[in-house]
């Protein structure tokens, strides 16, 4: 999709009654990066502004919107590109040998999907839009070539890769349901905050089934966990909106898992 075809989204975002119903990035223009760009900091630090990248034929394509439930790629599709989420939430998952879905992760604006395909020729998982999703698509061969000329970009790619691996390790281990829940919410809060959105008030676009699957808990346990955290005054849930009311206590509960 051509850049500039995004005015509608911005205009409706002006009347944005719900806390974080659709955090949408400042889209930038020919000279400025999008506010959520996953790479802008690394590039700028190396003296590459957007106009220079264009010269390098670093074609960055804004694609979308993908509607809720639409697949962005499927397991086994040939790997060509990684993509940064500009708006919405993406879920990645695989199906096990018995056809059961295993949720691998959720990707918020500013985060990059497809990284786990880098060492393969094909995507090793499925990616599906959980709400209306806009992406910024990078041809992988191009960005890899660019990375050889921009050392900061290479480091940045490595960091993204290791973060991606770290995320999966987060939930392995023997933790209580409440610890998993707290870690999940704290991680979501930090990730929202990292992109300039509110750390204490955000909307969860994933279903409770997905959260349960990701945390390896039963769906009912996730709801009971949210209820316990709410009753203890750590957070408040209104439909899909989360308000963290006692960040300190929530962090303390998450500490065993997040280990900082």
């Amino acid at each position: 999709m051509a850049r500039g075809a995004r005015c509608g989204a911005r205009a409706s975002a002006m009347i944005r009654p719900r806390a974080a119903s659709g955090p949408i990035a400042d889209d930038g223009d020919a000279f400025r990066f999008c506010s959520t760009c996953a790479f802008s900091a690394a590039c700028l630090a190396q003296g590459f502004d957007k106009s220079k990248l264009e010269e390098l034929h670093m074609l960055v394509a804004h694609v979308g919107p993908y509607e809720e439930g639409a697949h962005i790629f499927r397991e086994g599709d040939p790997f060509e590109a990684i993509a940064a989420v500009r708006a919405g939430t993406v879920k990645t998952y695989v199906n096990d040998s018995e056809g059961r879905e295993q949720v691998l992760g959720f990707f918020l604006p500013g985060e990059v999907i497809g990284l786990n395909a880098i060492s393969h020729a094909r995507y090793p998982c499925n990616a599906v839009a959980l709400d209306s999703v806009m992406l910024c698509r990078f041809s992988f061969p191009n960005i890899a070539a660019l990375a050889t000329r921009v050392p900061g970009l290479q480091q940045h790619l490595f960091r993204l890769l290791s973060e991606d691996i770290g995320k999966a390790a987060l939930l392995a281990g023997n933790f209580t349901a409440d610890e998993r829940m707290a870690a999940f919410i704290v991680a979501m809060s930090r990730r929202h905050a990292a992109r300039g959105f509110s750390a204490t008030r955000f909307r969860l676009s994933m279903t409770r089934t997905d959260i349960a699957n990701y945390l390896r808990l039963a769906s009912e346990s996730v709801s009971r966990g949210f209820s316990r955290l709410q009753d203890a005054g750590l957070l408040h849930v209104d439909r899909r909106e989360i308000e963290i009311t006692d960040p300190g206590k929530l962090e303390a509960l998450a500490r065993n898992i997040l280990r900082e």
Binding site: R16, P17, R18, S21, R201, L204, R208, V237, I242
Partner: protein
Amino acid sequence: MNTRLEFDAELLRRYDRPGPRYTSYPSAPQFSPRFTDADFRRQAARSNQEPIPRDLSLYVHVPFCFSPCFYCGCNRIITRDLRRGAPYAERLVREAEMVAPLFDRDRDVVQLHFGGGTPNFLEPQALAGLVASLGRFFHFSTAATRDFSIELDPRSVRDGDIAAYAAMGFNRASFGVQDFDRAVQLAINREQSIEETLRAIDACRAHGFRSVNVDLIYGLPRQTLAGFLHTLDTIVLARPDRVAVYGYAHMPEKFKAQRQIDERELPDAAERLALLQVAIERLTAAGYCYIGLDHFALPGDDLSLALEAGSLQRNFMGYTTHAESDLIGLGASSISHVGDSYSQNCRDLPPWESAVDQGRLPVARGLMLDDDDVLRAQVIQQLMCRGLIDRAQIETRFGIDFDSYFAESMARLLPLIADGLIAFDGSRIVATSRGRLMLRIIAMCFDRYLATPSVAETQPRHSRAL
């Protein structure tokens, strides 16, 4: 909240105009047939996927009445044929069987309400079977706070009925009284003795009902101050936990039964207000708290406690402590509120019956709330339930600047401010003791759908505000 009421007849007369009752926002005239059963299924599925899916409320509509009360604007069918009850109850079971699986089993039913029509048109045995079936398809809460309520016509309550309702799990009852004045009763075709009414109320108490409600109506034909005062005194002595005092809305072009009422016998505007005034005075003098709109409750009642705690809610069943639930309506014309949607079943019996017989959800129309609707619904909810609008709270929750978002509404409030109906208290807009009787009028300033005068004024779709 400000619990004082100030009665200013001149102001009330000036502001007496048609308006929605805001049991929902947007109100029912906005529902559209474009909303289908597929939308309802989608909303139900979505609501199951919230981090903490809401508890459930069930509303069951029983449309039959033995005889027509002439004031009535409800959706009902007049028949003396008791045999019509059983097949209707059977279809309700089939509807419940279709609807219940759309909702996850870990969602408790915390509120069950039978309304009508006349729910006790159904024989106790049929009703018991129906409640038992609902309990199989849904998971009834076992908490003491659950509200299982039924509207009862005291004229057809027989010995033993109340005991049977208690055994089915009902713990709240609501009785229609309107007025005990015989002249009024004849004019509205509803002859009901004080004795049978009090006997039914006593039976509820004897069988452990947690709460009894009585409905009165002012503005009926031939109603006099003396007669209505006598009714109020009788009711106050019986001391029901809740009393509702509704204003009669005469809309004969819309409700056929009302054409039986001789307009010349209706009290004029001044008399209506005087009737309302004595009702408010008598009830508050007897210790009842004003809950809002037309509702009063004893200080220990759940509604009064919720009002004090700021946790009062409002839904299609009126004021409640359980509105943070998804509401499922069963039966002809019943309304559901699931997720960010409202929907209504077929109003008339034949299409509802054929939908159920064909295994289709009988959804006829509805509405998806957009972000603006959700925001305005919250503002109106605060107003109707707490008598105030907390601008700071709305701003944080919805990420808006209140005064600029609602610039148009704020301008519409100006005459109300000049008349002393509302006042500013820091970031709060508060209904004054004069304004509390006119919450609907204040709420109308925030109703986007009333912005076009053609809807608000030419067609009286809504009853008068007082």
